[in-house]
Amino acid sequence: MSELKENLKKQLIEQLNLEDFEISDIADSDALFGDDGLALDSIDALEIIVLLEKEYGIKLDDPKKGKDIMTSVQTLSDFIESKR
């Protein structure tokens, strides 16, 4: 597992207070939103936007792209890498 993806999982667990999750419970391709996977909601989406800006200095300029960027830990990681 890349260091970035591991960090992201750790930050998601802490920031979103996912009490029942360990890093090993989250697969890179698990859906962040919807009924499967982490089943996050719109407030979590806001938290992730804040997390990206605070931890990685990346601002999500185009809200329309948010859905694709926040599909999974893999897509989040790809987005961060693309901005580095």
Binding site: I43, L46, E47, V50, E53
Partner: protein, 325 residues
């Protein structure tokens, strides 16, 4: 019109949750009391629970338990009293604002930092769009909520009202309260109690609540308003923080011969702690006895027909009265 307490539950530093009064008390060497956490997941889904701070968890679990005990799905009103509200979320939000130079505050802490979050979460969970109100009036916050519930019922605007008081203690609020010397000589605590107040007949009659807007309190006069005298009182529940608490010397003198319950040395002092006193009074009438560990004097509890509850914090006084039906 008579009003009744149909059900109740309480979360405190003692094992009071589950509409129960423990026979033994837990002593702690810590400088403050934290609540014993109930099994929150019995009442709140993990998805919602992860976002809730302790005061919301406690308020919601306690309320849902009281509603279950009363077999009520949707109350006609939800009324909450809280002195300091969601102080943990408020502290987190303000700290982030300061540390991050007013940029990027965490949205969850902001959303849930308002005092009415507990009542709001209850409304969302119960899908209850009825009357929803939160009172914050320091040591009379719970009493104000109770008074509002009483007025709603007496005006026939509601039949079953969920009413309660709850507060939380965080490390930051503990440090601030100590620095400000707000509660000298008192051990601080947290928790609360919720009740279903109803016009439907049940075992415990809620006679009323009085907020005393004076530094003195004539107990005889106050009792006469409810058609009672000092002799009619079988049990008192008082908020003494320690033995010989000077704030309670008049009360103590007046009711010296009565069975005397106290609770603050076991649950701590906080803005809505009088809700726990009401819970003790309700249990005393329901069970017609009380575990000995809660009694301050050795006076024997024979019959428990009328219970007087008195609280006095720095001159902010209140009285509540309960009777058996």
């Amino acid at each position: 019109m008579a009003l009744y307490i149909k059900s109740s539950d309480c979360i405190s530093a003692q094992a009071t949750f589950g509409s129960y009064l423990p026979e033994e008390l837990i002593n702690t060497d810590a400088s403050f009391y934290n609540c014993i956490k109930p099994e929150y997941k019995k009442y709140i889904s993990p998805k919602l629970l992860r976002r809730m701070s302790p005061i919301i968890r406690n308020g919601v679990s306690c309320s849902l338990s009281a509603l279950q005990n009363a077999e009520i799905d949707n109350p006609d009103a939800i009324i909450v009293g809280t002195a300091l509200g969601c102080i943990k979320d408020t502290t987190s939000f303000l700290t982030q604002l300061i540390e991050d130079n007013e940029a990027l505050p965490n949205p969850t802490h902001f959303i849930q930092s308002t005092h009415n979050t507990i009542a709001g979460q209850l409304a969302l969970l119960l899908k209850c769009s009825n009357y929803n109100f939160t009172f914050s009036q320091m040591h009379n916050s719970f009493e104000c909520a109770l008074l509002d519930a009483q007025l709603l019922l007496l005006d026939n605007e509601a039949k079953n009202v969920l009413v309660g008081g709850v507060d939380e203690l965080t490390e930051t609020s503990y440090e601030l309260i100590k620095d400000l010397e707000c509660y000298k000589d008192a051990k601080l605590g947290e928790g609360g109690a919720f009740f279903v107040l109803s016009s439907d007949e049940s075992e415990v009659v809620f006679k009323g609540v009085s907020i005393i807007n004076s530094s003195q309190c004539d107990f005889n006069d106050e009792l006469q308003k409810y058609g009672l005298s000092i002799d009619d009182i079988d049990l008192v529940v008082a908020g003494d923080k320690f033995e010989d608490d000077p704030s309670y010397s008049d009360f103590h003198k007046t009711f010296a011969e009565k069975p005397y319950l106290w609770y603050k040395p076991f649950v701590g002092e906080f803005g809505t702690v009088s809700s726990i006193a009401l819970y003790l009074g309700v249990k005393a009438i329901e069970d017609q006895s009380i575990p000995a560990c809660w009694t301050k004097n050795k006076a024997k509890i024979e019959a428990c027909n009328n219970v007087l509850i008195y609280n006095n914090v720095g001159g902010e006084q209140s009285l509540m009265l309960l009777s058996i039906n």
